[in-house]
Amino acid sequence: MTENKTAQQAVQTPEAPETQAKKQGRIKEIVLNGLILQNPILVLFLGMCATMAVSTSLVNAVGMGLSTTAVLICSNVVISLLRKLIPKEVRIACYVVVIAAFVTIVDLLLKAFLPSLSDALGIFIPLIVVNCIILGRAEAFASKNGPLYAAVDGVSMGLGFTLALCAMGLIRELLGGGAILGHQVLPEKAILLAAPCGGFLVLGCLVALTQYLKARVANKKKGGDEA
């Protein structure tokens, strides 16, 4: 499998011959960036609309996260393959067409196989087209890197998005509805958190927590260096 990937890599990006170790380091960096260091929701603040609208329950969050991930991987790979063919002036329009095509595929698949999820997410499935994460990764990463790296970036950014979305979904479903995955666990519910304003409040607290942890880690590192 790895050999196969290496061969592909060599064929597709002949301009950058890299050693196995270096490549693994690079992939590890991309994965860490997507999941934690550059988490699209908690650090980059991308894709806010979908985040707040569909994070009312864990199921919706997982569905939205995975749909977005699928679109992101496909569009990243295709755009990376086409990166030398697309003229610079019209690149954004080309990216949008590629993304819209994959979103339509995902939309039709969901309608056919998971109609209840498709109903719950509603208009936010077609709106993946204008999710800034996807266009952002196309412009910032896929248009400059080979298809293997672009795919890895798509997977890790998508999973980072899904993780943050699930955290929000879990908190809002648990506190706002007193349930986990539809099973009632808490006797009381704070309906406010399930209401629209809850999305802003929960995300605000999560981002604050991220900033707090980041500051703590930075402080510790500083302290360690001095000692």
């Binding site: 204008v130 266009l135 605000g204």
Partner: protein, 195 residues
């Protein structure tokens, strides 16, 4: 369409189902371009303009092109292309013929292509489904709702600029909490309807 139903549509789109604070459409520019009231107003006006135009154009594209050809499943692709082209066209048109308006809205126009409120309004119009006049009215009113929300939010943020916050809440979280409180106020309008 009677005046009464127009008023009812306005009430729903601007207050009861505010695009930003209740439906979560157009959050990115809402959080990004809301540090000053002036820029917020400029962005809001640009959105009203483009949403009104795109609503009528996407209605026509859907009615006369997609439906007769049986291409309804291409709506997302077609609409985003129409919106992107329209924004470019509006930019060129304003630059040439109404330069004062261009200087006022100019920098906000390219941002609107990826504003999900515009595509959202087009898709909601098709789903409802609404006629040409109603679609345009819905686009304009939803744009006004966006403007109301972003201007309110910007004026609150201006006042909070020099207030003290816990360190972890500085910057983005503070904006989110503020938006949450405004959204809570807008919950008071929920269920508001006439006729």
């Amino acid at each position: 369409m009677s005046l009464f139903s127009l008023f009812s549509l306005a009430l729903t789109a601007i207050l009861a189902e505010n695009f930003v604070l209740v439906k979560f459409l157009g959050i990115c520019p809402f959080l990004g371009v809301s540090k000053k009231t002036d820029t917020a107003l400029g962005m809001g006006m640009a959105v009203v303009f483009v949403m009104g135009l795109s609503s009528i154009v996407t209605w026509a594209v859907n009615e006369y092109l997609l439906l007769p050809l049986g291409l309804a499943y291409m709506q997302t692709v077609a609409f985003i292309l129409v919106i992107a082209a329209l924004v470019q066209f509006v930019e060129l048109f304003l630059k040439k013929f109404i330069p004062t308006l261009y200087t006022a809205l100019g920098i906000y126009l390219p941002l609107i292509t990826t504003n999900c409120a515009v595509l959202g309004a087009a898709l909601l119009n098709v789903q409802a489904p609404r006629g040409p006049l109603e679609s345009t009215a819905f686009g304009v009113f939803s744009g006004l709702g966006f403007t109301l929300a972003i201007v309110l939010f910007a004026s609150v943020r201006e006042r909070l600029e020099f207030s003290k916050f816990p360190k972890a809440f500085e910057g983005f979280p503070q904006a989110l909490i503020t938006a949450g409180l405004i959204a809570m106020a807008f919950m008071g309008f929920s269920g508001l309807s006439i006729g």
